[in-house]
């Protein structure tokens, strides 16, 4: 989850998010290098005591400062496009979960084998136990088996919502009347938080998403328990 005064991304919990992190590091390094160079040139120009008034043109430097930026841009574009296509792949999921957005809660349906469905409301601040996170915890978490490809079908029952979990590198809009598909693999067990990412009314900030990745036996026990309770 996010920490106070955090500047960077949350730790990656899925292979796609790791790729995004590495690409961000790569692109940011290029940005820092170019900015440092430009800042140095500005300072050098401003503090220079001798200036040359008679340079008209130079073909060599023009070639350099055309080819070099083009090469740099290609070096940014190729990994970027690769990740773009990687994010769109749905690689034979083991489980499909339907996440439906309502005003103002999410409901999850696991209908592959039995009919399991439940709502996930935010825990109000006055009902939190010590150690729980304000505005992020929910009464029922979306439990998924770890290290398995999970397909999430996102939609909405009333207005636009968006199902987002930054640690998994996933965000997909829930549009009423439309099924949007996304997928992730939770590479490690853990609890991953997200918040609704499309303005949906008064309590848009108060409908969080909690994904809990557990080993498969725990997932099977949990789903049996949830089916009995229903």
């Amino acid at each position: 989850m996010a920490h106070p005064s955090q500047l960077g991304f949350q730790d990656a919990a899925s292979p796609v998010m790791e790729e995004l992190l590495h690409f961000h590091d790569h692109a940011l390094m290029i940005v820092f290098l170019i900015s440092t160079l430009v800042l140095y040139i500005i300072v050098a120009m401003v503090t220079a005591k001798v200036t040359n008034k008679y340079i008209i043109d130079s073909q060599e430097i023009e070639i350099v400062w055309t080819v070099l930026p083009a090469v740099i841009l290609t070096l940014i574009a190729l990994p970027s496009l690769r990740i773009l296509y990687l994010m769109d792949e749905i690689n034979d999921p083991h489980l499909t979960v339907k996440a439906m957005g309502h005003q103002w809660y999410w409901s999850y349906e696991y209908t592959d084998y039995e009919n399991l469905g439940f709502d996930s409301y935010m825990i109000p601040t006055q009902d939190l136990s010590p150690g729980q996170f304000r505005l992020l915890e929910t009464d029922h978490r979306m439990v998924v088996p770890m290290e398995s490809p999970i397909r999430v079908l996102v939609s909405a029952e009333d207005v636009l919502h968006s199902w987002a979990v930054p640690a998994l590198g996933v965000k997909m809009d829930g549009v009423p009347g439309r099924l949007n598909q996304t997928a992730f693999i939770a590479s490690r067990p853990g609890v991953f938080y997200g918040q609704c990412s499309e303005i949906c009314g008064a309590n848009h900030s108060f409908m969080p998403i909690v994904v809990e990745a557990v080993p498969l036996e725990h997932f099977e026990n949990w789903s049996s328990l949830m089916l009995e309770d229903a």
């Binding site: 043109d57 073909q59 060599e60 023009e62 070639i63 055309t66 080819v67 083009a70 496009l81 690769r82 296509y85 990687l86 769109d88 792949e89 749905i90 690689n91 034979d92």
Partner: protein, 82 residues
């Protein structure tokens, strides 16, 4: 027009990389837009002969231009025929 440009190029050969990169970029964008227009199954251009192209996708078809980790033709078919 082309003659003017060619004459300027002779005096300023540094413009050649510019034409190469901008021309190449514009060509690649145009080709991709053409591919999207003609081969994208999400939109129906010809209502008489090809009214619903999205219904013609098989389970093993790849319709994105490029896949990184996934070979859709090797997917096992595990659902019933209709």
């Amino acid at each position: 027009m082309l003659n003017v440009v060619l004459k300027q190029l002779k005096n300023h050969p540094a413009l050649i990389p510019l034409f190469v990169f901008i021309g190449g970029g514009a060509t690649m964008s145009a080709l991709y837009l053409g591919r999207l227009a003609l081969k994208n199954p999400e939109c129906a251009w010809d209502r008489k002969n090809n009214p619903e192209p999205w219904n013609k996708l098989g389970p093993n078809d790849q319709y994105k231009m490029f896949t990184v980790n996934m070979d859709y033709s090797k997917l096992k078919k595990d659902r019933p025929d209709f």
